[in-house]
Amino acid sequence: MSSVTSAHSVVEPSPTSKRIAGAIVILYALITMIPLVWIFLTSIKSPPDSISYPPKIVFAPTLEGYCNLLTTRTRQTPEYIASLPAPTGTCDEVTRKRNMVIAGPSNFLPRFANSLVIAFGSTFLAVLLGTLAAYGFSRFRVPLADDLLFFILSTRMMPPIAVAIPIYLMYRELGLSDTALGMILLYTAVNVSLAVWLLKGFIDEIPREYEEAAMIDGYTRLQAFWKVVLPQATTGIAATAIFCLIFAWNEYAFVALLTSGEAQTAPPFIPTIIGEGGQDWPAVAAGTTIFLIPILVFTILLRKQLLRGITFGAVRK
């Protein structure tokens, strides 16, 4: 097992150093996961368990948090609750145990639906516009191409609050404030810069000869783009789409400033979940868990492309 003093000892680290490196990294990864595991554990605790001290690691799991997230409830006397017909469904049952009855659905699902509509809508538009522009920049001699590309990049340097003021005024004039369409357009504009830069990198890597061959075979430029380039760029387009989706899914500043209800997404809503006597942490944790799951899945799907996405394609792996 002992490593030999050869050139390989550098390129291929010794088993001991590997083991030490592994131990430190695993320790870091485990510590870094604690808050996320805690979110999940809190989401299946009862409200008293969630705020007990010392923090409970062993507890009886319950779906109360999820029920409280999805409904609004009112407190009732035990006598009143006894007079009601048998509980309908799990949530009703769980809620009654705490002398509550369900008064109606909470705002979580509409906010979550807004998140879906706005994130997917803006992603679709950003990827569509981004693919076209990236192809344009990649294949044609565009005057001032470098300046235009830098201009596209620089739109990401602005603090969101800085443009939020005029956008707020503009949207008020156009009737776009607090509408899903307004948020979709805004997120498309923010994401399209990333989409152009990333996709240009991906399309640059597809040899021009493919299109040229297709055009010699009688294709027009557009047919070559549609039938030859797009299929080749699918992986890049998918990766770009997921990055745009993650941004739109997670965004908070614009949505907090420009929407007041109708078009609000989940991130500003989750912190406002209040229970009796303060924040209802199991419900907040339940909302957080539901909200994080798609991103966890995407992270695992995306890990190979991650580097490109976060650096605007400036670094390739």
Partner: protein, 322 residues
Amino acid sequence: MNISSSSMVEKAADATARAMPTSVVRRLRGLSDRAIAWVFIAPTIILLLAINIFPLIWAIYLSFTNYRANRPNAPVLNVGLGNYERVLNDPDIWQAMQTTAHFVFWTILLQTVIGFALAYLIDRKFRGHAFWTTLILIPMMLSPAVVGNFWRFLYEPQIGLFAYAVSLVTGIPTADIQMLGSVSLAPWAIIIVDTWMWTPYVMLICLAGLRSIPDYIYEAAEVDRASAWRQFWSITVPMALPFIMLAVLFRGIENFKMFDMVTLLTGGGPGSTTEVASITLKRAAFESWATGRASAFAIVLFVAVFGLANIYVKALNKVKQR
């Protein structure tokens, strides 16, 4: 491209051509490359002009006026450079800039040191490194607002896991671990969450840097009997430096704009100890409704980020050329 696949493609093209009305096909066939380039690029440019540049120009205009967004019908006066004068002489704004600089400095320092160290260790390619790396990457993919909100719970002195863990290790009573309520600890509460979230980002870029160093350089150093320490400082660090600097640039720009996490964790408090520039700006624009002055501050901020980023990119390019 071989014959069978090209004929297949041709068939598909014929099918497309047949599916389209002839007039459309003729029109598309007629488009020159130059026209296609513009048709493809124009929508993006128009969208960016409408939603980024037009608002920016409007903000510049507003920064010279006393306009207030909550009184749209009041007469708008041109106040010249008055707003800029007020912004640059406002001690609160300088305080906010200092707070921001403090955050940017510490978050970048911690994230770079920890991120680089992790990347260096992961580069040893121990068993299962891909799996653990993926786990480490998760925090940076999450929503800063949603996660920041939950950290508020972790930081609660009486019930939170953080205070409990710190108290267990150090023996300090949890009542004294007021991460969000104490003037001296609140900034660190934010720095800790930011570091937790964004260290993976720096790590990932550093890892790409380390993987870009060709093995033969180390082999040559080995032949010259350079010590491991010497190899680290003379090869690893300088070769990875452009990547580290890129990470610092991206984190710097992002943390200069820091808003969501601070809003959810402390809202700028206690007092104004964690009031970063974005929060001051938000207060001026959407609470005091001093639209003109807020716009002037926004422009100052934008110029500052843009200017610093440009200077930094020049330095980065110098390092790259070396």
